[in-house]
Structure formats: structure tokens, C-alpha cells
Amino acid sequence: MCTVCGCGEGESRIEGKHTHHEHDHTHGETDHHYGHGPAYAHAPGMSQSHMVQIEQNILSKNDEYARANRQAFAEKGILTLNLVSSPGSGKTSLLTRTLQDLTEEIPMAVIEGDQETSRDADRIRETGVKAVQINTGKGCHLDAHQVGHAVEHLSLQQGSVLMIENVGNLVCPAAFDLGEAAKVAILSVTEGEDKPIKYPDMFHAADILLLNKIDLLPYLDFNVEQCIDYARRVNPGIQVFKISAKTGEGLQDWYQWIRLSLQTRLLGHANRASEAVAKTMTD
């Protein structure tokens, strides 16, 4: 973005076209060839400044926190799911329904991410499940550091499921690993079926696609097969569940996936969590 006039000069496009126009101010660079800098000259006696090679991923700090979270979850046999979607896909309704239906058989907890207010955490707490609200303020996504601190407030028990409801945003949360076992993308049929190719990074990063509000299909022109085809185009391995959080249709498969994923995680902890395994298997 141009800081003088605010116009876009990068990858942002309007109708597929880059937004270039005439400028009477300059953007501070006359030389667009970046290979001319001292990094590629390595001239001897170059004042007192010197070059340092670091080769570090920009997200390495977040990834470190994510690794620590993942390890902490693994040690306790906790299945952590990162729920991502655009605003209004029915994420919180799906979550409250899932909690109500599974809370008797599986210990659960929730981390809620929103820019402002604790409305969603309040909705979750009404179901009797423990919830922590993270307000990101100016941020557009949750990061692993915030999640690590939120977990401290939850005193998670062994063999539980932790649901993290990310900020409603199909762009930024894709890049930030929270230490979760799987990213679950929720897409409602009231949105366009081309969302997976319009926001490919998110659907590429997701393990599961929950296609929500299918009870509304008779009233819409949404093409389910086309949508799934688009999703598989960006992510051939994505698993798709067609559900309605309102009527409960298709939810049994989603619940079964949660049960089996949790059991798989617990099986690696035969000594520490055998009781929890036995419990979920007999339930």
C-alpha cells in the first residue's frame, strides 16, 4: 500500500487487475533491482557495517510457541482442534451443539478468539463447558503465544478435547500454527461454493471441511459437488462432512471423527492415559 495516498501497489487487485495509477509522488525507491546492495557485493573495507546471514523463518517465534503447545497437548493426550471460517458460518452454533452433545462422554474446553467482546465465551459457558475468551484487539488471528497463556486458565484434564474458535477470517489464521492437531474449516452453504478457491491458503491448510447449514440447500443454488471439487483442488486430502448444526443432520460422523481422533492420540499414552482410553471406548 502506498503510504502517501493509500493506493495498492502490491498483490491487491480489483476485478483481477493490479491497481496502478499515475503518481506525482515517488515511493522512495528509484532502484528496483535488489541485487545491487552490499549483500551481493561483499566489498572489502565496507565502513564499520557488516553483513549477517541469518536465514530465519519470520514465523519462527510463533512456531516455537506452537511446538511447545503441541508438546504440552501430546503429553496430556489432549486433542486440540483449530476452528476457522469466515464470520457468520455458524461456527459458534456448531460449537455449542457439539459441546452439548459430547460433554457427557468427553471432557471438553474452549478457547474463543474474537476481536472484541466476550459474547461467544458467554454462549459457550451457558453449556456448562469451561471457556476462555481471547480478544485480539487490532489482531486478525490468534497466535500460539496467546493460546499458550489461555491454556493456563483452563487446567485441562488428560484425554480432553480443546476447541479453539479462531477469529472469523479466512486469510490470516491460515499462516499461524497454534499447536493444534487439526484445522477444521467451516463453510456454510449460504456462502459461495467457490470460497475454497477464493481463499485457497485456508482450505489448503485445513484437514477437515464442515459444510454447514445444509438444511437450507432446498432454498439455495449452492452446488455441493462443485464446492467439494474446488476444496479438493486446493487440498486433495481434505475430509468433508455435510452437516447442519441446527437440525443435527450429519453431526454423528463429525462426532465419530472427534472420538476416533481422540482415541488415536490417547493410544500413544498407554500408561498415563489408559483410564481415559478405557472410558471413551466404553462410552
Binding site: A39, N57, G139, D201, P236
Partner: protein, 113 residues
């Protein structure tokens, strides 16, 4: 706008490296950004300037090394260039592509004193 968070990540790395390697000021930063990294370059430049204010990298020059998106086409059995994740193979038109590069976001090199 997650470019702001990315720049905060860059600053954290610069501060850690300054302590480790004993430099006081960063004059130039080279970032390697891939075509498929979902990073808006101009937003990155804007955020960089804002985030680096009053730090060891105040007024540092930001250079961005662009990396193209590349993928392995299983049908053609060769590496091809792609612009977006869901692009089809430019040769055979198939979708059996495995992204092999172009999603990097790295700090490559620094000029320090």
C-alpha cells in the same frame, strides 16, 4: 492485516540476533518472500516502517527478494511455475501438483553495525 504481526516477528528475531551476535543497529534487512506466502508486499513495507520505529532497526532499508511459486506435476513428472495454489499445470492442465517452493517467508540477511 497480518503483515503487522509478521513485522513484529521480524523485530523479535532482530532483537534476539543483536544480543547473540553483538550488533547495535540494523541498517538493511533482506527478506525472502514467496509468491504463495500470502504476504502483501506493500502492506509489509508499510508495517515494517511503523513497527521498526524507535527500535534498533529504525529507518532500516527493507529489501524483498521475490521467490516464484513452483510445483511438481505428477503427470508431467517435472517442475512447473504456478501463480496461485489452485493453478492447473501450465503444460498438461491437470491439478495433480505438489507445491515445492514459493511459500517461504524468511529473513535472509542483515546489514548491521
Amino acid at each position: 492485516m497480518h503483515e503487522m504481526s509478521l513485522c513484529e516477528g521480524v523485530l523479535q528475531i532482530l532483537q534476539t540476533e543483536a544480543e547473540k551476535q553483538g550488533f547495535q543497529r540494523v541498517k538493511t534487512v533482506w527478506l525472502e518472500i514467496g509468491e504463495l506466502a500470502s504476504v502483501e508486499i506493500e502492506a509489509m513495507r508499510f508495517s515494517f516502517e511503523v513497527v521498526m520505529k524507535n527500535t534498533l532497526a529504525e529507518s532500516a532499508q527493507l529489501n524483498i527478494i521475490h521467490k516464484p511459486g513452483v510445483a511438481w506435476c505428477m503427470q508431467c513428472e517435472k517442475t512447473v511455475t504456478v501463480k496461485q495454489r489452485f493453478d492447473e499445470c501450465p503444460d498438461c492442465g491437470g491439478y495433480q501438483l505438489q507445491i515445492t517452493g514459493g511459500d517461504e517467508m524468511k529473513i535472509k540477511e542483515l546489514e548491521v553495525e
